[in-house]
Amino acid sequence: MWSRVRALIAKEFLAVWQDKKSRVVIVVPPLIQLLVFGYAATFDVNHVATAIYNEDSGLAARELVARFEGSPSFQTVAYLSREAEIRDVIDAKQARLVIHIGQTFTRDLKADRTARIQLIVDGRESNTALIILGYANRIIADFNDEWLRAHGEALPPARLVVRSWFNPNLESQWFIVPGIVALLTLVVTTVVTALTVAREREVGTFEQLLVTPFRPSEILIGKSVPALVIGVAEGTVIITVAVFWFQVPLRGDLLLLYAGLFLYVLAVIGVGLMISSICRTQQQAILGAFLFVVPAVILSGFATPIANMPPLIQDLTLINPMRYFLVVVRGTFLEGLPTELVYERLWPMAAIAAITLTGAGWMFRHRLG
């Protein structure tokens, strides 16, 4: 039996690797995507285009403005002299933030009255707006602290000392790049497997395969092993680039990461083969792959946290293999996740793999009738 299966595996490898176009499709786009995504997919906000409307010539106002200008988060693009200009620069997206300091700012500050500073933020990009406000808040809190200290006044009764673990400088690349390992492995594995059976059905060779003495389980192994090798190899390349090019620290156990990768790829192969055995043509298979990949990525926690989703959709994410692998890959990269927590994420992927692979094997034969 094993020699038969070996021959089948060899044939499947050739089917994917012999065709130059499909070879290129497997190798080149993921690498380009990794590089572009790695740099483009960032939630970091820096060099925020800022316009300053300072009506106060006092020293304190100028000092506060200087703090904003000295921060790498902000970049002054304009100085305004009339209130009406605020609307113009924000509307036309010339500035995302306008800092408005009124005439009485320094006077209020010196008289121990609270001096007001107005920040107008473009809310079209809500996430950026929130982060800009956070940065501004911090600058003002620092200014307050120093002012109180310099004038011998009591500091507030308590102050926040914020530190972030695992990613002290809050680099979103550290979050996104390990996620890309999961994303690209998913895309490549799904496309490769979704097309295998559909292509053979379109050409008619799949029916021929079914009348040979091969059992569906053997066909399943023959179709899965090449995809498994390709998926794990793809994952390995991306992990290597993440560590050596993007310099994301790999703190956890490599063996566990690979156990996760192995089960993840198996689960995705199961889904891909199921799609493939349902579809009659390649177009349907690509569409099917798309219908699986897009929701799988959106509902995985890749870009937006699962915790922010409504409860019903959170439940839906439980059947998504990418959800579990993302935790494993991010956990092993940044946190050095405890072993038992990785195991908790391994068995759901193993269960998904078992169910989908069995389903695909069953459908090989039953699709015909």
């Binding site: 176009k21 380009i32 920040l119 809310g123 929130l130 501004a136 307050n144 308590a158 695992f166």
Partner: protein, 394 residues
């Protein structure tokens, strides 16, 4: 249908009067459009790309995706309970942004953080109550899980809000009014509640139209190349311009249908405000649709196989529309080289127009600049397609 059409053409012949030729040309075009429409209606997978996928995407994004952290799980460690520490705990509990859980000690809190059961730890140290009265004040230690840098930053912002509320409350309890030297008044324009849905849903329309205009068109037209029906069509007297128009018009209608569906859902299902002019939205959408159809036709003409066309469409149209258009990720924060690349992505101009038209209103400088860019891209893609298609016949 096609048969009678070509018979008709053969009988009309070349030397017909100009008026007659215009009539036949229009009839030929009409026939092609009809054929294409029938093909769309017949194939369930085309219809599902045009209507089912947009609906799924809109529902997923509208309901499933939110960048706003709400009720962030926080592990709260109070080493020495007192009235001061409990007043801080109350202000955390009252904040809509936090769901604090009291933990025994730092160790337990750390475990919760690593396990993902808490996104942040707040520690009020043993000497909190005493140090509150010292000139330097007491430290409130906040440890945020930095794995997701974005969430970490947002949590930090919320934490500052909760802290300021507590300071005010604390001052009130002491019979004072809090007078910080400088206070910040914030105004978030166009999106006062800072809802990420208002920002994501308009951009999603660009993604959906890219799917229909580029992916679907590329797949369908490359199938004709793959099966040889395109070449069969070319040996008929139908002109290339007519063939292309025959492809363009039905998918254009389909794409605009998807766009109307999306806009209606955005406004009525997701309550995204629409503050611009509908006519201008329509005009910009037409330009974008032409650009993405042009891209789809160009891909299919160059690729000529469904597998390659599908892949290429995903790589050059769908993924860039997702990542490089400003739909989720902020363009001005990207590295300069990547920012430069975004200028050749049509979706970038459309996403910017959509966000502005929905949330800010009709801002002419933005609308005009984006429309000009889209016009240029549509002209380039359609022009290139026209040339490539012509060449391939020789």
């Amino acid at each position: 249908m096609m048969g009678s059409q070509s018979d008709d053409k053969r009988s009309s012949g070349r030397p017909a009067a100009t008026l007659h030729a215009v009539g036949t040309s229009r009839m030929r075009l009409f026939g092609l459009i009809r054929k294409e429409t029938l093909q769309i209606l017949r194939d369930a997978s085309s219809i599902s790309i045009a209507f089912v996928l947009p609906a799924i995407l809109l529902l997923l994004f509208g309901y499933g995706v939110s960048l706003d952290a709400k009720r962030v799980p926080v592990a709260l460690v109070i080493e020495n309970p007192s009235s001061e520490t409990s007043s801080f705990a109350v202000s955390l509990t009252n904040s809509p942004y936090f769901a604090p859980t009291l933990m025994r000690d730092r160790h337990a809190a750390k475990e919760a953080l690593v396990a993902g059961d808490a996104d942040a730890i707040v520690v009020l140290r043993e000497d909190f109550a005493r140090r509150i009265w010292s000139p330097a004040g007491a430290p409130i230690q906040v440890l945020v899980n930095g794995t997701n840098a974005n969430t970490a930053r947002i949590i930090e912002g919320y934490m500052q809000g909760a802290w300021q509320k507590w300071l005010e409350q604390h001052a009130l309890d002491e019979g004072q009014v809090l007078t910080p030297p400088v206070a910040m008044e914030q105004r978030v324009w166009f999106n006062a509640e800072v809802r990420s849905r208002n920002f994501l849903v308009p951009g999603l329309i660009a993604i959906i139209m890219t799917l229909i205009g580029t992916l679907l068109t590329a797949m369908v037209v490359s199938r004709e190349w793959e099966r040889g029906t395109m070449e069969a069509l070319m040996v008929t007297p139908v002109r290339i311009g007519e063939i292309l128009l025959g492809k363009l018009i039905p998918y254009f209608v389909l794409g605009m249908g998807g766009m109307a569906l999306s806009t209606a859902m955005a406004v009525w299902v997701f309550n995204v405000p629409f503050r611009g002019s509908l006519a201008i939205l329509l005009a910009v959408s037409v330009l974008f649709m032409l650009a993405s159809l042009g891209m789809g036709l160009l891909i299919s003409t160059v690729a000529r196989s469904q597998f390659v066309a599908g892949q290429v469409a995903i790589i050059v149209a769908f993924l860039p529309a997702f990542i490089l258009s400003g739909f989720i990720f902020d363009i001005t924060s990207m590295p300069k080289v990547v920012q430069w690349i975004t200028h050749i992505i049509p979706a970038r101009y459309f996403v910017s127009s959509l966000q502005t038209l929905f949330l800010a209103g009709t801002v002419w400088p933005i609308v005009l600049a984006n429309s000009a860019a889209l016009c240029l891209m549509a002209a380039i893609f359609l022009g290139l397609t026209r040339r490539k298609t012509h060449k391939s016949l020789e």
